[in-house]
């Protein structure tokens, strides 16, 4: 009898659980379909604040809610604009006149004028030299030492006067913020404690309405967006630390778009309801030599010898790296300028090194790095067998370098008699090891790393700047002529002259070879075709602005 009671209770419990399960599973709360017209995005990243003066880590989603004055996309694409509709520089190269969109409004309905743009820049300028200088976020005083004044001539006209000719007024990424929201925020708060809680007030097409740290941001369409209110019902960007869940979400229809790995890209490219894209970006993967002498120098003086570095350049097959490590989703590296910076890019065909291990060996022999004792390992000029330490790791804000690329480089160097031991580090340890020798860095030989800066002429060349040693310049290489070219580029507005200077500098650093540029990886992504149309033809999603989320249309 007892046994039967037990069984009966168990059956009743099972029935109860069973009856609830379908209800739970089919609850409307979990429905995710095209019908709500909300664009769902899976993204790698971890935004930490909605305050553009306090962070760089929230580029997404801040760039959807705020406009920069001009920026990268507006200079590359005639159909993409920011806060400014048009811009021009006077013949003196100092005075920039920027016309903002007439009748533009903030998302709260207030007029958005040139006075707001002037406020944004003057707010930053006012903090210069103060203990709480606004120099840590996307809206930063960086570069403002070149600015003499920023004035609103009228509601539609902004004038920026610089101390020397510079393209900074149109190259900077400062996001325009409304004066009526920010005028009472002190610098100390703007730098740290002011959270700028949603809903934000911006001029972008999508306004951050909810931010859950470590989870998602929800954005609603800006009813006052300058062209017209976006056709979609908003966006939700979910943040992840790995890409697998994004791919699964794309597959199941939970996401409309997201970044993917090369393997996922290949799988999605075969599916009819999913489109794939690859975008050229400013990332440079490079092999750097520790050229420091004295404190922080590498294990051999050979690293300081341009002939040694040049010879090794012949042992690097960039095409093989692209094909085998990146599965074709990268451009082979040549000079320090990447192909996406089309105005400045050159393939340096007249001085370019071609992969040839025998040639690399011959050049090493000629430079005095021979294998004199026949053990298969070359010796340096002091007679010490070469054994180089190659350090690598992922830096923040860039795509990860496949370990296959590192193995390929180590393999080629081994084949020309230079054994290499590889040490993989996390981003913190990598930063510590590669900081300037004066700050305790150095004592490594080779470095494989990446950076992703803008395509402004300054950022293209900063890899070799003596002022950036241990920061962007991780080879510790210095060259007075190169520094002079960089200084001149910084003071040049004329595009043609700027191109000439960048080309000279690129050739100089290529010949000296403190870096061998390995590749320029493409960012890969996928989008579903069943809910929205209007994705870009090639770079379906911009890495610099809100394109195409301002113009997507529900199907």
């Amino acid at each position: 009898m007892n046994d039967w009671s037990m069984n009966r209770r168990a059956v009743v419990k099972a029935m109860l659980v069973g009856s609830v399960a379908p209800w739970v599973i089919n609850s409307r709360a979990f429905a995710s379909s095209c019908s709500d017209h909300i664009v769902r995005v899976g993204s790698m990243g971890a935004p930490d604040s909605m305050n553009p003066f306090a962070t760089w880590s929230s580029f997404w989603p801040l760039v959807l809610s705020y406009d920069s004055l001009v920026g990268v996309d507006a200079q590359r694409h005639p159909d993409r604009r920011g806060f400014a509709k048009a811009w021009a520089v006077a013949d003196d190269g100092l005075t920039w006149t920027i016309k903002v969109w007439p009748g533009m409004k903030w998302s709260d309905g207030q007029p958005a004028t040139a006075r707001d743009a002037a406020f944004t820049y003057n707010y930053l300028l006012g903090s210069v030299g103060k203990p709480d200088e606004l120099n840590i976020g996307q809206n930063s005083t960086d570069g403002m030492e070149q600015v003499a004044s920023v004035t609103a001539i009228d509601d539609e006209t902004l004038r920026i006067v610089t101390k020397a000719p510079t393209r900074w007024p149109i190259d900077n990424f400062v996001l325009m913020v409304p004066e009526h929201v920010w005028k009472d925020i002190g610098y100390a708060d703007a730098r740290s404690t002011f959270r700028n809680d949603p809903p934000l007030v911006g001029t972008g097409p999508m306004i951050v309405a909810e931010f859950q740290q470590g989870q998602f941001v929800r954005l609603t369409p800006n009813a006052y967006f300058r062209t017209e209110q976006p056709k979609t019902a908003g966006m939700i960007i979910h943040f992840f630390t790995t890409q697998d869940p994004i791919a699964q979400g794309l597959k199941s229809g939970s996401f409309d778009c997201g970044g993917v790995t090369a393997a996922q890209w290949a799988a999605f490219s075969k599916e009819s309801d999913i489109g794939v894209y690859e975008s050229r970006v400013e990332q440079r993967d490079y092999l750097a030599f520790n050229t420091a002498s004295g404190k922080g120098a590498g294990s051999t003086k050979a690293l300081q010898d341009p002939a040694f570095r040049d010879a090794i350049g012949y042992a690097i097959d960039q095409k093989a790296i692209v094909d085998r490590a990146y599965r074709g989703h990268a451009d082979p590296g040549v000079g320090i300028v990447m192909p996406v910076a089309a105005d400045y890019y050159s393939d340096l065909s007249d001085i370019r090194r071609r992969f040839d291990l025998a040639e690399a060996g011959r050049r090493l022999d000629a430079a005095g790095y021979r294998d004199t004792n026949g053990d298969g390992v070359r010796e340096d000029k002091e007679g010490k067998s070469l054994q180089l330490e190659l350090i690598t790791g992922k830096a923040s804000g860039v795509s990860e370098i496949p370990i296959a690329a590192v193995q390929l480089v180590a393999g080629w160097l081994g084949q020309i008699g230079i054994p290499v031991s590889v040490t993989q580090l996390d981003s913190g340890a990598l930063t510590a090891r590669t900081t300037a020798p004066t700050d305790g860095g150095g004592s490594w030989d080779l470095l494989i790393a990446s950076n992703w800066l803008s395509s402004s002429p300054h950022d293209l060349l900063v890899l070799g700047s003596s002022k950036s040693i241990g920061l962007t310049n991780r080879s510790y290489w210095t060259n007075e002529k190169f520094d002079a070219l960089l200084t001149e580029v910084d003071r040049t507005v004329d595009l043609k002259r700027s191109q000439e200077l960048v080309d000279q500098a690129a050739r100089l650093i290529y010949a000296e070879a403190p870096y061998i540029i390995l590749s320029h990886p493409l960012t890969l992504g996928a989008y579903r075709k069943d809910c929205f149309q209007g994705w870009g033809p090639e770079d379906a999603i911009s890495d610099w602005s809100y394109f195409p989320f301002d113009r997507l249309r529900p199907i």
Binding site: D48, S49, T242, Q248, S252, T435, W452, L471
Partner: protein, 332 residues
């Protein structure tokens, strides 16, 4: 005699509490030292993600802003210990201006829901299954339970999590594969709870399945030892039924090693489940730890590890007290 026992108990609890206090003060000090030993400069990492070249002056200015330019010993450590004693865990580096205690408090409920529930399920299922397998050694249940347990125990939890996502989220569409709730859904309170439970299902399953194995293995071993004891033979000779033998003698004696495992695991509940949280984008303490570690966010790391230290010390305290209740020899 009763007074002596009472005094002994009080003295034992007093000793345990003193040991706990000493352990916690050591944890707090080590927290300060350990994270600063890891190479990496928080200011350089914070500004390193910028898409513009960053000057050395900017990095140094940020270090000064955080007080990292001051000597570690004694300035920084004394400030830290004094603030910690007053319950002030400081401000986060990465999460601009957010109080560390706020950040931890925000993430803790999600972690306790995920790991706590998974521990509870794993504990109930694993202990019952393990005890039964130990009681019926060599039987079908024993063989299946041991095989499955070892397989689950040795399976990486992130892989298990991905398999669950692929089957139950992508293929069948039964459960969401990420997040803690559906953002922006205008739904009633009942649906909100169901929404939460549905999001919780797969992460809890992934953590619980990974934990069940160790409970089964330990419970089975404990029960296997007990059933061969002399007092069990005596009990059978006295004519006790299987149920009576199990409940009166076997179960209680087999619980001692399990109490250690259970209480220690309870201590780790607040640590989160880093890999599973990563797969499901679950906003728990595990994810916060990874973010803080990548950014060398010392105040957040110190706060999390202090909480973990307190939790483990409390769990040990609980285990000590439970031993006394379960085992009269320890009580005496």
């Amino acid at each position: 005699m009763a007074g002596n026992a009472q005094e002994g108990r009080t003295s034992r609890i007093g000793n345990v509490l003193i040991r706990a206090a000493i352990t916690l003060s050591m944890v707090a000090t080590l927290n300060f030292v350990l994270f600063r030993v890891i190479p990496g400069d928080p200011a350089a990492l914070l500004l390193g993600g910028a898409r513009m070249s960053v000057s050395a002056e900017r990095i140094e200015a940020q270090r000064q802003n955080w007080g990292l330019d001051r000597p570690l010993f004694p300035d920084q450590i004394l400030d830290y210990l004094s603030a910690t004693l007053h319950g002030d865990l400081g401000y986060s580096f990465k999460f601009r201006g957010r109080l560390v205690s706020d950040l931890i408090w925000e993430r803790l409920p999600a972690t306790i829901a995920l790991v706590g529930l998974a521990q509870l399920i794993a504990m109930l299922c694993g202990v019952m299954l393990g005890l039964y397998a130990g009681w019926r050694r060599g039987g079908a249940v024993d063989r299946i339970a041991m095989g499955a347990s070892l397989a689950l125990y040795s399976t990486p939890s992130f892989w298990l999590a991905m398999v669950l996502v692929v089957i139950f989220s992508t293929a069948l569409g039964w459960f969401p594969g990420y997040g803690i709730y559906s953002p922006g859904a205008s739904i009633g309170s009942t649906d909100k709870i169901l929404d939460y439970l549905r999001h919780l299902a797969l992460p809890v399953a992934a953590v619980a399945l990974g934990l069940i194995g160790q409970y089964v293995v330990v419970a089975r071993a404990a029960m296997s030892d007990v059933v061969t004891e002399d007092y069990m033979v005596t009990a059978r000779a006295k004519g006790l039924t299987n149920g009576q033998m199990l409940m009166r003698h076997a179960f209680r004696n087999a619980m001692l090693p399990l109490v250690t495992l259970i209480t220690l695991n309870l201590g780790y509940v607040v640590a989160g489940a880093i890999t599973v949280e990563a797969v499901f984008a679950w906003p728990g303490i595990g994810g916060l730890t990874v973010e803080a570690l990548n950014a060398r966010d010392y105040p957040v790391l110190q706060g999390i590890f202090l909480l973990l230290g307190v939790s483990i010390v409390a769990a040990n305290l609980l285990a000590d007290l439970a031993y006394g209740i379960l085992d009269p020899r320890i009580r005496q």
